[in-house]
Amino acid sequence: MLARIEYALRETWASFRRNFTLTLAAVLTSAIALLLVGATFLIQRAFENLLVQWRGDVAMIVFVRSDASPEQVALIDSTLRAAPSVIDVEKIRYLDKTESYAEAQRIFAGDPVTLSLLTPETIPTQFKVVPITEDADLVRSLAGQYRTLPGVEAVALAEDEFEVISTLSRFVRTVTLIMSLVLLVVAVGLIWNTIRTAMFARRREIEVMKLVGATNWFIRVPFMLEGLLQGLIGGVVSCFGVWALNSAWTSGVATFKPGTGISSLVVPSGYLSGVVVILLALGALVGAIGSAIAASRFLDV
């Protein structure tokens, strides 16, 4: 068994050196493809920071002053419930101070200045409102009424804030996703080609191996390992790329004016580690697929 493993590793390494340029091309392509995949994840996650408060078809948020009395909050609540033809009263959600503070920490993730001004005591609480009508004007006019209620600090409409970001986020996601998919396919193709070339270069050896009774798997494994390794190395490179991009971005947006929203477009480090794991696994998968196709198709020499 040990002899087999040693053989496979030795052959893999030898082939790597023999086909250096092709290997480099395959590795770089998978790295770039995976980098784009990583960027897609990060961008998506960053946008979610801004979109989190609108999740679940929320179209209107009524912010309640932090010093509002319980009676005022109750009044706002009953006022909202008095318009069942416009508002889905089942889905009215009240976020108390703790919940609102937790949400704000995501929204202002990259904006320590704003964040430091907020405390669980001073933060406005909020009602999240899901309309049942399609009529945006009706919702807007209702929002106007709510602004005049005692204790209401502000009323935000999704139409004004959410739509643009949401559309932008969807657009960016679609573009990066398509680009990374295309590049992933190209990466599979390049790895396939590298392995095919490697097998062609060693066709005499493969012929002899088959002649003396080596099993197909024994012949295949070094080649498949080679492809897997190419994808994996591409994955490692892309991880460094994603990490570098993210660091540059995070320190870049930190200099933006607070409150513009841009500074919210950052991701927590825990999420970044998750993306790294995904990229490594995806890289290995790309390599495995490319080389498996090549190794199973070009064994008959």
Binding site: M1, L2, A3, R4, Y7, R204, E205, E207, V208, M209, K210, L211, V212, G213, A214, T215, N216, F218, I219
Partner: protein, 225 residues
């Protein structure tokens, strides 16, 4: 050891390489397959090592029916066969020792077996002093000896040789033939395709003559006609 039962091999749609061939080779036999180029000698050898599958009929080798053998079992069949070719099929980037060791390595033999067996076989073929040479540094006869060593190192029960003296001069051929004879004396069945008159006539072994895919003569202690 080998039995062919009404074996026909048709390449493509209508090229009949072997036509209704039947014969049996006993264990320890030494058999020449003779005939002109294209008479079907090589095809018969390829059928025996299952590089080809018979279109019709059964090929039995070492107790196994190759026509019904699953592709996944073929490597194990090949381990009980040794193959020798006119063009040696040596790996030019490997030394004599490595070429022979390769045959054991790729069937997963442990290193101590390789270190023990390869020198024994190289001694047998008379190349003990050239183990570190590369094929290009050897004469044709020496290269064929390496290829025989590679075929024999796993102690096959059958040795299939396709024109092993085809590229060699008479004197060198003689050396190769006595080596094959020596291997045959260890109990290995040898089947050799050739159109080398001299070799066949000196050896006086069983001769199976083919003509356009058909057996036209099967003679004990025969000569090339």
């Amino acid at each position: 050891m080998i039995r062919l039962d009404g074996v026909t091999k048709i390449y493509g749609d209508d090229t009949v390489a072997v036509d209704q061939v039947s014969f049996e080779v006993a264990k320890g036999d030494f058999v020449f397959l003779v005939g002109q180029s294209g008479s079907g000698k090589s095809t018969l050898l390829r059928l025996m090592s299952r590089e080809e599958i018979a279109t019709e009929g059964d090929v039995w080798v070492a107790g196994r029916n190759l026509s019904e053998m699953a592709a996944s079992r073929v490597p194990y069949l090949r381990r009980s066969l040794g193959n020798v070719f006119q063009d040696y099929k040596l790996l030019l980037n490997k030394t004599v020792f490595e070429n022979v060791a390769f045959a054991l390595e790729v069937i997963g033999k442990p290193r101590h077996v390789i270190r023990e067996q390869v020198p024994i076989v190289l001694e047998l073929v008379g190349l003990a002093d050239k183990t570190e040479r590369f094929p290009n540094q050897l004469s044709g006869g020496e290269q064929q000896r390496v290829s025989i060593a590679r075929a024999f190192v796993n102690r096959p029960v059958i040795l299939l040789a396709d024109e092993p003296t085809g590229n060699l001069d008479p004197a060198t051929s003689e050396g190769i033939m006595s080596l094959l004879e020596e291997i045959n004396e260890t109990g290995t069945t040898v089947v050799m395709a050739t159109h080398d008159h001299r070799v066949v006539n000196t050896m006086r072994r069983r001769v199976i003559q083919l003509d356009r895919g058909v057996v036209v003569r099967d003679q004990e202690r025969g000569v090339y006609e």
